[in-house]
């Protein structure tokens, strides 16, 4: 049984489907085609997880605690909708075809073989975007450094085990050591995402951010590099005859450029960010910040 698509679509994307309904989406695929079929999930997750991740600037005033809610969405770009799939044994002769990815067209693609045989590349869900909602906490500043946390965990029920998202990031103010026309921060953020024993993802972001303060807020430009690795392990046949299929995804779009700003209103802050590199992303959030000035 293939539960990976179920997990992706019920939790990560997420939508309202039940367990066995989606087991078949990539059941027709082994490792190579499954990788192409699932690849957009990794890139969209990386975009959504990291757009707007540096939500609270370390206060110049010293110690602060921030609690916030971040809502992000990563938008599917056109070339994420298809991949070049290869037919697999026992189909002959071997052929390639432009097949839908999981975010691609809903219609399957079928190629014809010899003597009435045919190979079906399953359709996708024609998704336009991938949304994520995450609570977050930030604490700082200690010598120009603040620490950010994200955590979300709950039982999925059935036999899927636990969903757990964890994030920890550190950013450090570089311009405390030199003068520059804006404040400059270096940051590293790590986020992990685990679903039962079947999905394990590690997402990294290394960033440099230039920020200017305005009357009631700030605005920034950020460049980042975002590698990730996601492993999907699933048993095609739901039996013990065949080894489980293991699919590893790495970043096709690791470059992240982001523009954003924050509006400071008393003890809370409204913010927005836009990822300007594909897959494009947007982020909005609200943070309650308690520092020694408010």
């Amino acid at each position: 049984m293939n539960r990976i698509t179920l997990i992706i679509l019920t939790i990560l994307l997420p939508i309202c489907l039940r367990a066995q309904e989606l087991q078949n989406f990539i059941g027709a695929y082994d490792n190579d085609n499954a990788q192409g079929y699932l690849q957009p999930v990794g890139d969209l997750l990386s975009s959504a997880l990291f757009t707007g991740v540096w939500n609270t600037t370390p206060g110049d005033s010293g110690f602060h605690i921030g609690i916030g809610l971040s809502v992000s969405a990563a938008y599917v770009v056109e070339n994420q909708r298809t991949f070049t799939g290869m037919t697999q044994f026992p189909f002959t002769p071997e052929q390639s075809a432009e097949a839908p990815t999981i975010v691609g067209a809903t219609e399957n693609v079928t190629v014809e073989g010899v003597n009435g045989t045919g190979y079906v590349f399953p359709g996708g869900f024609h998704l336009s975007y991938l949304p994520i909602v995450v609570p977050e906490i930030s604490i700082g500043s200690f010598y120009g450094t603040d620490i950010h946390f994200r955590f979300l965990g709950f039982e999925l029920g059935d036999d899927f085990g636990k969903f757990r998202q964890l994030g920890i990031g550190v950013q450090h103010k570089l311009t405390q050591y030199f003068d520059f026309w804006s404040d400059v921060y270096a940051g590293y953020y790590y986020q992990s995402l685990d679903i039962g024993d079947e999905v394990s993802g590690q997402f990294h972001q290394i960033s440099v951010r230039a920020e200017k303060s305005a009357d009631r807020g700030r605005y920034y430009l950020m460049a980042a590099y975002q590698p990730f690795n996601i492993n999907f392990t699933y048993d095609e046949d739901d039996d013990e005859i065949n080894d489980p299929v293991s699919v590893d995804l790495t970043a096709d779009y690791p470059i992240h450029v982001e523009l954003g700003g924050e509006l400071k209103l008393s003890f809370f802050r409204l913010r927005a960010g836009v990822r300007a590199t594909p897959p494009f992303g947007i982020n909005g959030g609200i943070n309650f910040v308690f520092d020694e000035n408010n």
């Binding site: 939508i15 027709a28 809903t106 009435g116 869900f125 949304p131």
Partner: protein, 219 residues
Amino acid sequence: MKNIADKMKNLNILYIVFISLILSSCECHFIYSDPDLCEWQTVEYTVTDDLIFTYEINTNGNFLEAHRIDSDDVFDAFGESVSDEAEIKKIELVGASFAYSSYSDNEAEKISFQAFVAENDLELLLMNETGEFDIPDGLGESFAANALLNTVGVTKMKELVRDYAGLLNFGSFDVLALGTTLPQGKLCHVQLDIAMRFTMVYEDCRWLPLGMGDETCEG
């Protein structure tokens, strides 16, 4: 620090609202359980599985063996995840292969066969004569058989799989293996496995976020 603690204490209500928002969104699998954001939509699903026909051949010459498939076999492979409202759109035969494995008392050297699909009194050629194959010692390799398939039998097989998976037929059918072993008179004791991989595409009505699926449907 005291200043911060005081402010946080005064904001308990906001904090509770905030946490409640998070927890409620988790409890209902996020915002998409909201009826304003989801609707019943048709979605296409694909399931692929093998039907394997196994024959124990124990003969001194010619043989005719049957492997019976009933509706449960097909339903277990393809129909389990299909709801009553689902519509099967397509059945494809991805390909076929066969393999021999010999028992220790086997004395024959070569074997050939052809396969038929038989339902009631109808018997259709499914796989042309394979030609002579060496019988392996023990477990042998698997051979692709797509080039040997007969389109008439393939069409019948696809029709049977569709009917059985969709619970339109509760009967059974046979896949027959008719063949010869060499040299004649020597004991041929082998197992023959014919594997046929099918893909079924079906459409079902599911509760999905707006913008997904092909079109709306009655849930």
